[in-house]
Every structure is written in structure tokens, then in C-alpha cells.
Amino acid sequence: MMSSETMLLLTILVPLAAVIGIVGARRYPNLREAVSLTAALVLIYLTYNLYRLTESGVNVSWEGLQILPGLALFFNIEPLGQLFSLIGSFLWLITTVYSIGYMRGHQEENQTRFYLCFAIAISSVMGIAYAGNLFTLFIFYEILTLSTYPLVTHAGTEKAKLGGRVYLGILLTTSILFLLLAIIGTWYTAGTVDFRAGGVFDQSQKFAAAVLLPLYIFGIGKAAIMPFHRWLPAAMVAPTPVSALLHAVAVVKAGVFSVLKVCTYIFGFDLLGQLPTTEFLLYLAGASVIIASLVAMKQDNLKARLAYSTVSQLSYITVGALLANGAGALGGAMHIGMHAFGKITLFFCAGAIMVASHKTEISDMHGLGRRMPVTMAAFFIGSLSIIGLPPGGGTWSKWYLMIATIEADKLILMAVLMASSLLNIAYLLPIPIKGFLYPDPDAQGADKKIREAPLPSLIALSLTALGCIVLFVYPQPLYELATHFLEAAGLHGR
């Protein structure tokens, strides 16, 4: 049995080691994908063991490489990071399976570069999840941005170039202009950038904290709060597996994960509740929830609609963090997991539809359920989870978020969340309903046969859809991790 510190470092190094294997095996696609799959399996093993260890009360951390005086690379596992890393590693495996079907079915070029950048991105996700201070988090945050750029621009077309420009432009601009400034400001004000239970500021630093909070919230552009959300729809030019894992799970969740961590471990809920800027940001996030849902209604391109839906759902989590109470943090943390499974299912389905029937616009998808029943059924389940209806896991997280708005006495926000859920119904459910109930306009004779996506893709999307239901029936592990997160952050009670 290796030491816990070694395992911690290996979670970051294993995906990087996979890069070497992927490049080495570039002439043998099967071997190359085997490398990715093995690395994903090893990563799951590692994160699961770390989970077991930390649940039994062991504190796992590693510090080294003093980059600037007093600022070292520091990893420290806490429950929220544990949750994020478990989801990230598990869904990496599923997405790799899916990619094998998708990338080959779609005859994409440069597949080696694709798998290589994917592995680097996952490595940085692990770095973000286990980061013990803001400095470490920032380093991996930027690596994640840069390693996903070649994935977004994978197609190499003019459109991909423009999309990449917006993607990198917004993510780097916000992180350099606001996040870096906020981190240096915190370092200068509080003398530390470590994540600590209850926050790092004291009461006398209230003014500085009030200034720093919006810098953090806008600086963490990956959380896609309006008006810095444009990069997410722009990133949809990427191949679907990228949109699925990175722009529904890894990258965006890295954003809201950072928001949650900053709100709890840097500010602390006591201070956060008192800051004058919190209120403003809370309503901005609320506006983001509703506006993004409204924009999603108008999108006919399926991936664009899903992207705006993601923007809206991310702001749910930001709202949860900014409400500064236990239920909000609990709901936010759980929604990271619930939304991940729901949204990745929807993206998998979108990709499957694209590969099998070459359709990208929603208005062309009438009657598609007859030819792609499994895909459409999975889409239906994923939609339920996103909306927050049983039997989808999203029910639970949205439940706690609602309670949080009541607890904080913010009835307007509660109305916003409810209205947005109604909008979710309006823009998600018609797709499977029309898919199953409407006649298929271009089905003639032989074309009526079932034509699903390649098998690996189909397996992947069925698994994640199943995951949505499992998380409804058996949400305990997620719930427990989220409550442990509350304890670690020093927020007892609800």
C-alpha cells in the first residue's frame, strides 16, 4: 500500500503519464485508447482510495516546491474537493468510452492531440480539486484553460478559431484581470492564501473583503456568471465529448467549485453574510439564472441550448454559495454532482444524434425517438434531472437550494429559481416528447430502422442516465460528502 501523499500526487501525475503513453502509441489507435482507459481506471482507483482514507478521518496533504517565498504548491484534501475529484475521474472514464465511439464514428482528425489535451485537462482538474491554497488553484486553473483551448479549436476551421478566441479571451482576461488581482490582494491583506475553515479575513478587513469578493466572482470566469458567460456557448464548436466532459463537467464545475471554496474557506459565511457586495452579486447570479434560461429557449441548435442551460444551472450553484448559509452550500455542493450527471447525459445524446443522424438543430429532431429510442430515453431522464423532477438526482440539490433561499429570507430568489425550473421544462422536455410522439418527416420505408450511435457511445450515455436515477434513489454518498464539507468549513447545523 502506498502512502496517502503518494496517491495524492499520483492523481495529478497519472493523467500526465498517460500523455506520454498516448503520444507513444499514436500510430496504434486501439493501444492509444487503451492507455486513456487504463489511466482513467487507475485514477478512479486512486480517488476512491483517497475518499476512503479521508472518510476514515485521515488528513491527506502535501506541500512542496516553494515557488515564491511563502507560497508553495500545496494540496490538501477536503470533502468538496473529494466530491469533485470523484466525479471528474469517474466521468473521464465514461467519456473516454464515449469518445471512442464518437471520434471514430465522426471520423475526426488529430485524435492523438485530442486524447492528449484531454489527459492534461483532467490532470489540472485533479490539481484544482485538491488545491490547498489559492495560488495552487490558480496555477491549475490556468493550465486547464490553456489545455482545453486546442480541444475547443479542434476542427481548425474559421469558426473554431473565432470560438477559441472568445473562449481564451474571456477566460484569460477574467482570470488575469480579476482573479489574479484578487489573489494578490488577499495575500497582501490577509497575509495568506490558504483555504481555512471560517475564512482568512478578520472583521477589521471588511472593506478589503467587500472589494475582493466581486473580483473573485467575476474573476472565476469558468463559473460563467453573466456578463462573462459568452465563452461557454463559444466553446460549443468543440467535438461533443469535449463539450460533454469539459464544458458540462470539468471546466465549468472547476469554476463553481472555486466559487464555493472561496466563499467558504476564504471569506467564511459569517463575513460573507455581512458584506455589502454579496447582496448585489446574489441578484446578479439570480438574473443570470433566469436570463440564461430565457436565452436557452430561443436556441434551435441543440448544443447551444444546452450551453445556455449550463450557464443558468451554474448560477444556481453560485447563488447557493452566496446565500451564505448551510443549506445553500449543501445544495450547491450536491448540484455540482447532480448537474454533472444530468448535463453530460444530455451532451452525450446530442453527440449521438449528430453521429447517427447528422442532426444538430432541434427543429429537425421530430420523430427521432423512433430511430434512436435509447438515446431519446436517456435524454428524457437527463432532462428530468436537470429540471429537478423525480426520478432525477437534481431533485435533491434543487430542494436544498430552495430551502436556502427561504432560510435567507430571499423570496425573490426563490421565485427566480422556481421560474427557471419551469423554463427548464419548457426548453428541455419538448425535445424528447416531440422525438417520440411526432411523426418522422423523412422516414420512408427502409429508413425506419433503428439506427443508434456506435455501441461505446450508447453504453456511455446509458450509464450516465442510469447514474441520474441512482443519484435520486441513493444520494447518500453525495449528501454525506456535502455535509462533511459543511463540517470542514465550520458551518454546523443546516
Partner: protein
Amino acid sequence: MIEHLPILQVLVPLLGAPLCIIVRNPRMVGLFALSISTITFLVSCSLLQQVLQNGTIVYELGGWAAPWGIEYRIDYLNSYLLLLVSAMSAIVLVASQSSISRELPRNRHMLFYTAYLLCLTGLLGILCTGDAFNVFVFLEISSLSSYTLIALGNDRRALTAAYQYLIMGTIGATFIIIGVGLMYMMTGTLNMYDLAQRLPEVHNSKTVLSAIGFFIVGVCLKLALFPLHLWLPNAYAFAPSIATAFLAATSTKVAVYVLIRFIFSVVGPEFVDTVLPLQEIFVVLGVSGIFATSISAIYQLNIKRLFAYSSVAQIGYMILALAIGTPLGLTATLIHLFNHALMKAALFLAIGGVVYRVGSAQLSHFAGLGRQMPWTMAAIVAGGLSLIGVPLTVGFVSKWYLVLALLEKGWWPLTILVLISSLLALIYVWRIVEWVYFSSPRIVLDEVKDPPLSQLVPIYILVVANFYFGIDTSLTVGISKKAAEMLFGGVF
């Protein structure tokens, strides 16, 4: 032997330069220059080690005690820069053989290496000496030889660029000698240490005031502070690629050193503040320079010119950090001096590799090179990321210290301006990235591939250094801090 190292530091390249003419053979002369440069590098390593162990080294030339004789003084500040300049010179020379053979006719190789070593002599001499007039002499040696280096460029516009630089450089040098002369007139000494002792007695005179004014303007011309930078973009653009890489990595850095040395060790920062609004001037020129030249860089069609403008912008950062007037600010300047040299040397050498294969540094000629020259282009991207200041690169360390120093001083608005300006770097770097990776190649020729190993190896030494010193900052930050404390402590 070991106690003579300070003079050997200058003497070895000085003697090596004329010997290049004797060696003559185009192949041998490059190796000869490289070995000379390597020796100076080893000397500077040993000097740095001595300074770190025993503190300042004082060396009297010919045994004549100061102030009658010339004195060399090696302390934290100049031993750090000696290491930088000699290291950059040696690394660049490794790549020079093949690059020069493509850009210069064979009979000019020995001239190139002679001028190169003379330039190195001048730069090292400026760093070593503790004598104000000696600074002028070495400055002229380095300047005259760099005019020659630039004029050797195979584009005919190199001649006008060199001429432009000659005119501006001579004005700068004249101003410097006027400044030195006036100070000599008032104090009767040229030794910097002695000047520092005697200047306070004559502080009130207008002569000293004008001496300071002349000197500072002269140096600012040499270091290409906006708006005195007009000579630089053309000079860098049309010089042979190797010369550009060498000059960009060293010459402006040495000029910044002269400015720091003069302000802190000769005149004293408090005095400068009382007679000249230097802080305000430097802040305004620094910030406007950063913006004006970064924006110019965005519109350049020639990549060498683009990075030349970017160099002027980076000088703006150094001057801004210097203007903060705190030990932390000075530390930031010194860190960025080192870091910027690493970035620009890597970038210009990589561009040299493109010129070697493609024959041009026009942006449009970079179209589609991402596939044809993958390693070279990866190096340009890495250098560009460092320039933007992405974490784990040296650029990030520089930015961190600059922002921290600005916050410590309480200059919030400037902090934000600095961060905004670093996004301009993102724009001009990404323009190149898009040309390189998203456009289809102009010409599909088999001979367009990565340059030979003799160029790739030095390029990658520098790229790795960009990351290494971004992760292990103990050398750069450690020495910069010590040097800044020393200068603010008034010890020389």
C-alpha cells in the same frame, strides 16, 4: 588568478575579439567566439559565487588605489547581471553558426564575431566598473559594435536602421558624457563611490542638477524608454537574427542597470526625488509606454518588429516598478530584467530558426508553420505564454512582484492598468498563434522543417529556463531581494 577575475571578465572577450580576425575561418571563428564566451560565463559564475559568500569584491586596476586608479566593484547587483549577460551570450552563440551562415556572406563571419565579442566586452565592462567615465567608454564600445552588428543584416534597410540607431545612440552617449563631465567639474572625481561621498556637499548647485538631468536622459535613450525608443524597432527588425536575440536579451538590460546604479549608488534616491519629479515622470512614461508600444505591437506585420515593440513595453514595466521607489519595487525591476531576457532570447532565437528555414519574419510567412516546424512554434508559444505571464513561467513571477509592489504602495489604479496591459500581450501573441496553427501554409516545401539541432538545443535551453525559473525562483528572487536591500541600505 582568482582575485583577478573581475578584470578577466572584461579582458577575455576584449582580447578574443581581434583574435577572431586572425582565426578567420568561418567555421572555426564561431567555435572560437563560443569558447571565449563560455570562459566569461564561467568567470561570472565564479564571481557570483564569491559575492554570495564574501560580499562585495573591490578590484583596483593596475594596483592604483581609487580615486586615482580605476576600480572595479562587484556586488549583488552587477554579479547577477554579469551572469545573465554572459549566459545569454554563450547560449545565443551556440545557435549562431548555422543561423549566420544563412544570413551573412562567408567573408563577413569573422567581422560579425569580432563585433559580437566587442559588444559583449562593452556590456560586461559597464557592469564591472565602478568608474563613471569608464561606464561611458564601455558604453561606446558596446554601442559602436552593436551598430556594426545591426548594419550586417542582409536587408538593405538594416543600414538605415543602424544609422538611425547611431544618431540616437550618439546623442545619448553625448548626454551621458556631459553629465559625467559636469559631475567631475563639481567634485573632481570620477569614481562612483567617491562621487556618492562628495555630491551631497554640492547638492545645491544648478550644475549638479543639470548633470543629473543630462545623465538620466542619456541613459533613457540607451534603454529605449518610451518615447525615446524610436531607434529600437527597426534596429531589432533588420539586424541578423542572432544579433537581435543577443541585443534584446542584454543591451537594454545593461542600460537599465546603469540607470539603477546611477540613481541608487551615485546620487542617492532621496536626492533625486528632491530635485527632479523623477517618480512622476517615470510613472507616466512607463505606463504610457507600455500601452502605446503594446498597441503598436498588435499591428505589426513583421514578427521581429512585433517583439521589438513588445520589448519597449517590457522596459516600461521595469521603469514603472523602479518608480515605485520601494525595495519591493526595485526587486520587481531586477526580477523582470532577468526574466525578460529569458523570454526574448527564446523568442528571437526561435524566430531566427524560422528565418533560417523560411527566409523571412513576416507574419504571413508563419502561416501553417505549426505543422511544418512544430518544435520551433511550440517554443514561440511557450515564450509567448511567458510574456503574457501564465503561472509556472517566469513572466508570472515578474507580474506577481510588480502587482504586489504596486499594491503595497497603494497604487490601485496603476495595478489595474498593468493587468489590462498584460492582456495586450495576449492579443499580439495570439495573433501569431492563430496564423501559425489555423492558416494553411503559403508554400508547401519539404525543406521547411525545424531548424538543425544546433539551433533547437539553445532555443529549448531557454524555453526550459523560462519554466525552470518560473518554478524555482530562489536564484532570481533571492539575489534581487538582496540587491534591492543593499541599494536601499545605501551600501555600495
